[in-house]
């Protein structure tokens, strides 16, 4: 069990040592989004009848930061270790593939939560925001972070070079997170795009997370929880399967 603890600790230490890049920078990015979008749209849009646009945007940005940073943590750690070759240090010891999975996913969740919390602290001053039900907030943040952390492991193992990982990030993660209702309620979309959004698991993460703040959302939080939970389990199984087979790592 201690192999897992050390690997988890090492993964957390790794991003914490360069917190300017891994925590401060994404917080600043989210803050800029908030300043620009809320400046342009605040007076034009009201969501769910009563919620101001800025208040609506804040949870979306927080969750987007959680997801993107969870993904970034496991994927960049793995690709760096593979490219520099120091991945060997975790492959030589008696660490099982399950411990390996748990350590990387958990560290990704921690990074996601730390950044998410940072974004919340930096943006909360711009609009009155109350938490309707903190359990939803926490559940979606942890499950979403875990899922993207898992996806980060898959991407980090699959990619052989940094540009392949960047492609994964630009063509999959970015569209999925941006087209998920971070910046808008999907009810404001034309029907086709509304339908399409329902196939995006990230939409349910954001929507459920938001429900924790406002008590209202586009779809029921229970539906979102089921879908996010199912995706988390499926992706986890795929990742564990890859790790067990030693795909690209032990070959």
């Amino acid at each position: 069990m201690s192999g897992f603890r050390t690997l988890f600790y090492k993964e957390v230490l790794r991003f914490w040592k360069v917190a300017t890049q891994t925590v401060a920078a994404p917080v600043l990015t989210a803050l800029l989004y908030l300043l620009i979008f809320s400046h342009v749209l605040e007076s034009h849009i009201r969501v769910y009848g009563t919620v101001s646009y800025t208040a609506f945007l804040i949870p979306g940005l927080v969750m987007m930061s959680v997801l993107q940073n969870a993904f970034a943590n496991s994927s960049s750690s793995l690709i760096q270790s593979k490219v520099t070759g120091n991945i060997i240090f975790v492959l030589l010891p008696p660490i099982s593939y399950r411990e390996f999975y748990a350590a990387y996913v958990l560290a990704a969740v921690v990074r996601g939560l730390v950044v998410g919390f940072g974004v919340l602290v930096a943006t909360i001053w711009f609009a009155p925001l109350e938490v309707d039900n903190p359990l939803w907030v926490l559940a979606f943040a942890v499950l979403g972070g875990g899922m993207l952390g898992s996806l980060g492991i898959v991407a980090g193992i699959w990619a052989d070079k940094f540009d392949q990982l960047a492609a994964f990030q630009n063509f999959l993660i970015m569209p999925l997170t941006f087209l998920s209702g971070v910046f808008y309620s999907i009810h404001s979309l034309p029907p086709f795009w509304q339908q399409l959004s329902h196939f995006n698991p990230v939409f349910y993460m954001i929507d459920g997370f938001r429900h924790g703040f406002f008590g209202v959302s586009d779809v029921s939080p229970w539906l979102s929880l089921s879908i996010v939970g199912a995706c988390f389990v499926l992706l986890g199984m795929l990742t564990l399967f890859m790790l067990e087979r030693g795909y690209k790592l032990r070959n």
């Binding site: 050390t6 010891p93 008696p94």
Partner: protein, 304 residues
């Protein structure tokens, strides 16, 4: 004696390359074992298979009786590997690196042993330096230290002295020898054959994924002959064809092997007839390099 490492019929292909073609080996506990072979012979692949870094296509490997696949946790606890590539984690200092490596093996509070390793590898003054700031040779020492944090009974070193200065080589070998005296089994690959000759008690030679020689160092050295006649010819001179056939050459020194001293006279006579001028002449024991070259040319030796 128990077997520290046993390799059974191990085969591994990378695409069309047959990296290991049915390797059989056994290393006894406490041995200082040399694994030699030219570039691409399959040494690193064999070590990787031993360490669970690559999965073999067929065959079985055990470390201290533990199967490296079925019982990988036990097997990896018994094994310390110094990789051939100079790798490091730039996020951490030397001490952090070693503490983390201990933790991976489930060991906490390992500082006493870590200090001892650092001392022995002449790294104490660099304990708190970031890995990035170390020179190549120092990084290599940290790799050795990392392989030792869990006090493995079996230690495998893949070319540990590549790019390392003379002084460290001496310190390193002293330390490894001591570990061997304390009962650790050592497996070493190196391209410095004098090193292997003086350190290893038994040697396997690998060529294109096959074991082409496996014997005690002493027997290997005697395999082709008991003695060697080494000659340096005057510039421009060539050995007569008959002598050239049985000679190996290195750094301008031709080496001819023979068993009985009365074989020297005919050789010298032949040289005289051919008009060869000698600049240097020496009689000694055949060295591992000569044996290595002959084995790699497919000779088996009539005495082995």
């Amino acid at each position: 004696m128990t077997t520290a490492i046993s390799v059974h019929q191990v085969a591994k292909r990378f695409g069309s390359v047959e990296a290991l073609a049915g390797v059989d080996l056994a290393v006894a506990e406490g041995e200082f074992f040399g694994l030699l072979g030219p570039n691409g012979a399959g040494k690193t692949t064999l070590i990787s298979a031993l360490a669970g870094l690559v999965r073999v296509d067929s065959g079985r490997i055990e470390v201290m009786g533990c199967d490296v696949v079925a019982d990988y946790r036990a097997a990896r606890r018994q094994l310390g590997v110094v990789p051939q590539e100079l790798v490091f984690d730039p996020f951490f200092s030397v001490r952090e690196t070693l503490r983390i490596q201990s933790g991976y093996f489930g060991i906490r509070g390992n500082d006493e042993w870590i200090d001892e390793i650092l001392e022995n590898l002449d790294l104490s003054s660099k304990a708190d330096a970031n890995m990035r700031t170390l020179s190549g040779g120092m990084k290599r020492r940290v790799l050795v230290a990392q392989a030792l944090v869990h006090r493995p009974p079996v230690i495998v070193l893949d070319e540990p002295t590549a790019g390392v200065d003379v002084e460290l080589r001496q310190t390193l070998w002293q330390f490894i020898r001591r570990l061997n005296r304390d009962g650790h089994t050592i497996v070493l690959t190196t391209h410095y054959l004098e090193e292997a000759e003086s350190l290893c008690s038994r040697i396997a030679m690998l060529k294109a994924g096959r074991v082409v020689a496996l014997d005690s160092t002493a027997n290997l050295l005697r395999r082709f002959s008991s003695h060697a006649l080494r000659l340096r010819l005057a510039p421009g001179a060539l050995l007569p064809p008959a002598a050239a056939l049985r000679a190996t050459e290195k750094d301008g020194i031709c080496s001819l092997s023979f068993d009985r001293f009365d074989e020297i006279e005919p050789i010298l006579a032949e040289l005289r007839v051919a008009g060869c001028t000698l600049e240097e002449l020496e009689i000694g024991k055949p060295d591992l390099e000569e044996v290595f070259i002959r084995v790699m040319h497919g000779l088996q030796g009539d005495r082995g």
